[in-house]
Amino acid sequence: MSESYYGEYGGQFVSESLMNTLHELEEAFHEAVKDPEFMKEYHYYLKEYVGRETPLYLASRISDKYGCKIYLKREDLNHTGAHKINNVIGQILLAKRMGKTKVIAETGAGQHGVATATGAALFNMECTVYMGTEDIERQHLNVMRMEMLGAKVVGVQSGSNTLKDATNEAIRTWAKTAEDTFYIIGSAVGPHPYPMMVKEFQRIISVEAKRQFLEKENRLPDAVIACVGGGSNSIGMFAEFIQDKEVELIGVEAAGMGISSGKHAAAIAAGKAGILHGMRSYLLQDEDGNVKLAHSISAGLDYPGVGPEHAYLNDTKRVKYVSVTDAEAMEALSELCRTEGIIPAIESAHALAYAFKKAKSMRKTQSMVICLSGRGDKDAATIEAYFNGEEYLN
């Protein structure tokens, strides 16, 4: 079972009803990724349907301003507007290969839900998406998109009414229906083999970015930066650079209203090891060991845990994890809009905010790659409310 662990993190903390399902999934996944036909089909859809590869764009005005080379990996340009679709294509092809006819998913910001609904439409599968009622309110556009794509969106009203609770409900449904239903997890979380699968299907981000960077600069970047909620875009962005020790890897968590306020989603900065959603990892918990509500202006980062490999990469110090507040993220978002003409997702703006801070201390010849994990269209209402000084949701 050691394969299911990253150091002391990971594992399979699920009910007995799901153990055979997980073992079948592990086996099917390993077979699939070794099967050239499967990988060919995966890459076919990434190219022809998702629109990969995505550009590695040298943001020149921002670079000039901060005095170092800042590259953006444009995952926002993917079909459906974020990196989430990479993983969905992989998992849904696997579901098809395993003979499943229904898929379910959890979603926070709605990007993974939209991506799953999209994949389900494409491959003619029945799709149900679980989403917290608070997220349904702040990500209304994505709810409409999922419904247009033929998915059923189930509002989850329990706990914080956000991603954590949507995931609980998806796990419950999965335990009931695993015989014909495939659970497409969108983040690098959950019981083994999910964190490993999500990494493999998001690895494409760094496979491309590394090649593109080498072509442009004929060397490796000094730093690679990505935001971390559950950690899917970041694990994909880091994957191919982990072995390159000279590349500094930085994961940016959501500090919400500030770590000291207690209203944040920084599981690595302020959590301790715990068990949730089938995995052992860093987790925000109260004094009784109950899971604490996370807070972030970004629905996609509003999660009290983090993927187990990130917990491991933190402990082994290969990746540095930092955090930025709602306010810092929104300022960076605004700056990218006005200087580069790109409206980033609030999630991605967390990575930008830290990158801009870091850039100030870098030399002109140094460079960094930031994963621009998604576009900000879905966040228009939140962004407007925030800049109008209104109380934004959550």
Binding site: M1, G11, Q12, F13, V14, S15, E16, S17, M19, N20, T21, S158, G159, K164, D165, N168, I171, R172, T173, A175, K176, T177, A178, E179, A273, G274, I275, L276, H277, G278, R280, L283, Q285, D288, G289, N290, V291
Partner: protein, 266 residues
């Protein structure tokens, strides 16, 4: 001897089936919860499962989720439940008690400290639905080192199939057969292959076989009565107590009727 094993041995001798209830600890409040345990002991509940409320009860359906949420709101935590049990035991309460809880609560308390505390206050068994066989190593090691440690009850599911012999090897107390896929409390909608599944468990198990999830009355288990040694009533029992404002007479009546019907006593 462990209270669970002792009680089950007596039942076997008498040719009776075990009646096990589940209640969320701390409801309607911690004092009355203790009283309800005494009432049940008197009424003849054989084993009592106490649910330790957790913020994210993924193995539970709506009834126990809601009970768990309300109990947390009332301030119930593991420490208070330990205190309650300790007091009950000092007062002479001898009903076998099993904690049904999520692994994070155990892990947060600390495995060794938790095992020692259970042994000290008199907890007889543990049911941890998110701790499957493969993940039990660390806890088992600690339990093995603790004298009078609670028994880690093993759960099997309708899809466990080839895993059953592995799970039941060295299992003690009783085996908890989940009657349906998924979560607690699904109104007697048992798995389609329920009988074959229970027979398979029965043929492998050297300890009593109990069935739980979705059971409301003794009639619900009649088709399976020859292959099980008892059953667990959870969600329905919680609803019954709630709907009758925790009226102790109603609770006693329910327990007596269920036991009599299950054991064929007119």
């Amino acid at each position: 001897m462990n209270r669970i094993e002792k009680r089950l041995a007596l039942l076997e001798e008498a040719g009776h089936k075990a009646f096990i209830t589940y209640m969320t600890a701390g409801l309607p409040d911690i004092e009355r919860c203790a009283e309800l345990i005494r009432v049940q002991e008197e009424a003849g509940t054989d084993i009592l499962e106490l649910g330790i409320p957790f913020s994210d009860p993924v193995a539970d359906g709506p009834v126990i989720q809601d009970a768990s949420f309300r109990s947390i709101q009332k301030g119930t935590n593991l420490k208070k439940v330990f205190d309650m049990v300790e007091k009950l035991r000092t007062e002479g309460c001898e009903i076998p008690l099993v904690f049904m809880m999520y692994y994070n609560t155990v892990s947060f308390y600390g495995l060794a400290a938790f095992a020692a505390k259970c042994a000290a206050v008199g907890i007889d068994g543990l049911i941890i639905p998110d701790l499957p066989y493969e993940e039990q190593g660390n806890l088992k090691k600690v339990l093995d080192k603790t004298s009078e440690a609670p028994i880690l009850i093993q759960l099997v599911a309708p899809v466990s199939k080839q895993r059953i012999p592995m799970i039941l090897k060295n299992a003690r107390g009783f085996v908890y057969c989940v009657s349906s896929m998924g979560v607690t409390g699904q109104d007697a909608t048992f798995h389609k292959d329920i009988l074959q599944y229970l027979q398979k468990v029965r043929s492998v198990s050297t300890i009593p076989v109990m069935m739980g999830f979705g059971i409301r009355t003794a009639q619900d288990i009649m088709p399976m009565k020859d292959v099980i040694d008892g059953c667990i009533v959870g969600s329905h029992f919680i609803q019954l107590m709630e709907q009758n404002q925790y009226n102790t007479e109603v609770i006693k009546e329910y327990i007596t009727t269920f036991k009599n019907e299950m054991n064929g006593v007119k």
